[in-house]
């Protein structure tokens, strides 16, 4: 306890110092206002608005509060609307565009045109295959194969499973699925008895899982893309035994791992997948490049895969994110809230309030990023076009196989 507080205090002190240094050096530079546009898909789900709030909070955190003029545009699910938005941004002489791209390919032309006119494009979470944009994403970190291996491990290499996929006809869903199938197909004892689409939405995942459970009540484990809080709801609603579930980072899902009753009924698994913190990291990278603190040609950058096993859940006390806690109180956030909004090294400027409201943390200053970046592997159709993937595309990075096929 005491030790924890002490380390927290010294950590805070260190942060404060570096922050001061950062602020000092920023004041030396002539103050230039950077025109930054934030282009989103549909700001209707928790995940998307968290990323927007994180970026807005960072843009108001000193010293960026005096350097950044941030404007937000929401384009819905229509790539054409985003093309039009990008065109407007380029015409408005943007310095940088930070964006969740709606399509990995349809935006390429307008992005290229923007690059030629000196606009920096930073894509977070989703990606474009145009080479002149910076892609910052966890996708290449292998959510599919690592979670699949974890599920196989907890099932002892055999059992009937469901696969809850995302939105049909999207490249992210395809990549996750293929990664997972790469693992499952190695184990003849693993049978995928039902495969359905939850559209990355907890309500739809819940309804689809309820249908699947009616057909296969004897399922042994579930692999789920975003929407896993709904997947869990459906299994809990049915009553009776639970099973291992691997999914993404929804707070409702992680809360489930803390529930003693659920644990006793057989719930375990891992929480991984798409972290909203990527958006903040991408924004900070872009600002470091724009302000000349970092020299980096357009490149695909990998954000580390969040990974929290069911026995590693640690509830946060109130709104504070400290001591490695990773689940919020159910009263503070919706069940679909994506918990990975903070990173002690990459994104210490954010707390729960800033992810919910877009307001900066009082007294916080922007912390410099670690020098090193992790380059992402080639993922054809995701972050490059007409390129070859590495031979070990689906190699395990986080999970290890404890059960041999």
């Amino acid at each position: 306890m005491k030790f924890g507080k002490l380390t927290a205090a010294s950590f805070g002190l260190a942060l404060g110092l570096t922050g001061l240094l950062g602020a000092a050096s920023a004041q030396d530079a002539p103050q230039k206002k950077y025109k930054i546009y934030l282009s989103l898909s549909y700001s209707g789900n928790n995940w998307m608005s968290e990323t927007a709030n994180i970026i807005k909070a960072l843009a108001k955190t000193p010293p960026y509060d005096k350097m950044v003029e941030l404007k937000e545009v929401i384009s819905g699910t229509d790539p054409q609307a985003q093309i039009a938005a990008y065109e407007s941004m380029i015409d408005a002489k943007a310095d940088g565009v930070i964006s969740f791209p709606i399509s990995p390919t349809a935006l390429n032309r307008v992005v290229k045109r923007g690059c030629d006119r000196g606009v920096k494009f930073f894509m977070y979470d989703s990606t474009v295959t145009e080479r002149c944009a910076y892609n910052v994403s966890y996708i290449s970190a292998g959510f599919g194969e690592n979670t699949a291996q974890e599920l196989v491990n907890s099932l002892g290499g055999k059992g009937k499973i469901f696969m809850v996929r995302g939105v049909p006809g999207t490249s992210v869903d395809k990549r996750h699925y293929e990664g997972a199938m790469h693992i499952f197909s190695k184990y003849p004892g693993i049978k995928v008895v039902s495969e359905y689409y939850g559209y990355w939405d907890d309500r739809i995942a819940q309804q689809e899982t309820a249908k699947a459970l009616a057909a296969h009540p004897d399922v042994d484990g579930i692999w789920s893309e975003l929407g896993e809080a709904g997947t869990l709801n459906a299994v809990v609603d049915r009553g009776g035994k639970l099973m291992p579930i691997v999914g993404e980072n929804m707070n409702g899902f992680r809360q489930g791992f803390l529930n003693e009753d659920y644990k006793a009924r057989g719930l375990k698994g891992v929480s991984s997948g798409s972290p909203p913190a990527t958006a903040g990291y991408a924004f900070k990278l872009m600002m470091e490049i724009l302000t000349g603190k970092r020299d980096l040609e357009p490149v695909n950058i990998e954000y580390p895969l969040p990974w929290a096993r069911s026995d590693e859940m640690k509830p946060c006390q109130g709104e504070a994110i400290a001591d490695g806690c990773n689940v919020f109180d159910a009263k503070l956030v919706p069940q679909g809230f994506s918990t990975v909004i903070y990173d002690p090294a990459l994104l210490p400027e954010i707390n729960l309030q800033s992810a919910l409201t877009g307001e900066p943390v009082p007294g916080m200053t922007i912390q410099p990023l670690p020098k090193e970046i992790v380059k992402a592997a080639n993922e054809p159709g995701i972050n490059c076009n007409r390129c070859d993937p590495p031979a070990d595309l689906y190699k395990l990075t986080t999970a290890t196989a404890t059960v041999q096929p």
Binding site: Q80, A84, D91, T105, A106, S171, G381
Partner: protein, 330 residues
């Protein structure tokens, strides 16, 4: 049936006057909106910006053109979402290079669209199934087929198509704008033919049209085929702009196509209006996005402004046309 305000005979002067009014109103609205845009952003008057706008609007405009043909016969066509998706993946999976390839692709797109339209037309015209239900089924089937052809966004549209169709030709005209213009001219010719006249007749009063010798079922069937061909062209222009395929590409067009039709002054209960108005209506919708961006409307409320503008535009058009027709009466 219940919402047609007047039961004037098809092909008589009032409906033609209204048609002209609808397109004219949409045109005036477009010019005014463009003026507002230019006031915020002087760059709006450049050829490059106009080309961007046309490239953006062309797919929706052509989709709305097809929708108009069906709406005129008092139908709703949901199949356009499926058709555009199929054409989008077709263009990306089977690219054909050079001008010849581009022409062949275009013909193939029209054919695909026409074939799908023929299926809808068979169901609606010859089996008597309600258009919205039949085309919903067709749309779902087409979405499935698109997913089978390409299971994630990707592929590459032929470079000739994606560059030439979005470029400026003769030094002053966006190619996409010329395509839209060509469809407008084609419509103006078609409108004078038996087929064109009977579309209005069927929409205004199907029973009367049948009694006066219009082969209702056959003409209605062709309406869906023509509409399908327009959706095919819309998909072609969309792939020119995005340069890749997407099995879900058509969905965003579904409601927007109806909005364009209504903005263009075509009555959604059939019998009145025309394609030209819808083409302009689609351009208005796309321009709205740009104007709201230029005006700096907060992103949360862009939707609210779009919805309100949509209703106001329709209201405005109705008021003016009502005023005009009462003026005629005097």
């Amino acid at each position: 049936m219940s919402l047609v305000p007047n039961e004037s005979l098809p092909g008589t002067r009032p409906s033609r006057a209204l048609f002209a009014n609808g397109a004219l109103m949409a045109g005036v609205f477009y010019v005014v909106l463009y003026g507002v845009y230019a006031a915020y952003d002087p760059g709006a008057l450049s050829l490059a910006t106009f080309t961007d706008l046309m490239n953006n609007a062309a797919p929706l405009a052509l989709a709305a053109a097809g929708q108009t043909i069906v709406v005129l016969t008092r139908g709703f066509d949901l199949s356009l979402a499926g058709t555009i998706s199929i054409v989008s993946v077709f263009m990306a999976v089977f690219p054909m290079e050079d001008a010849g390839g581009g022409a062949a692709s275009f013909a193939a797109c029209l054919a695909i669209g026409g074939a799908i339209g023929a299926v809808s037309g068979l169901l609606v015209a010859f089996r008597g199934i309600q258009s919205i239900a039949a085309t919903l089924g067709v749309m779902i089937v087409c979405q499935g087929i698109a997913l089978l052809i390409l299971n994630a966004p990707g592929g590459a549209v032929a470079e000739w198509v994606s560059y030439e169709m979005t470029d400026v030709v003769f030094g002053f005209a966006p190619a996409s704008g010329l395509v839209v213009l060509a469809f407008a001219l084609a419509w103006l010719l078609l409108r004078k033919t038996d087929l064109g006249l009977s579309l209005y007749a069927i929409g205004a009063d199907e029973g009367a049209a049948g009694l006066s010798g219009v082969p209702v079922a056959r003409r209605r069937f062709w309406a869906y085929v023509l509409a399908g061909a327009c959706y095919g062209a819309a998909g072609f222009m969309l792939s020119a702009q995005t340069a890749t395929g997407d099995p879900n590409a058509g969905m965003p067009f579904l409601l927007l196509s109806f909005a364009s039709v209504a903005l263009g002054g075509t009555s959604l209960t059939g019998g009145q209006g025309g394609v030209v108005g819808s083409l302009i209506g689609a351009c208005v919708l796309m321009l709205m996005q740009k104007v709201l961006f230029a005006a700096g409307v907060s992103s949360f409320y862009i939707g609210a402004s779009q919805g309100a503008l949509l209703i106001l535009a329709i209201l405005f058009g109705r008021l003016v046309s009502r005023a005009a027709s009462s003026g005629d009466a005097k």
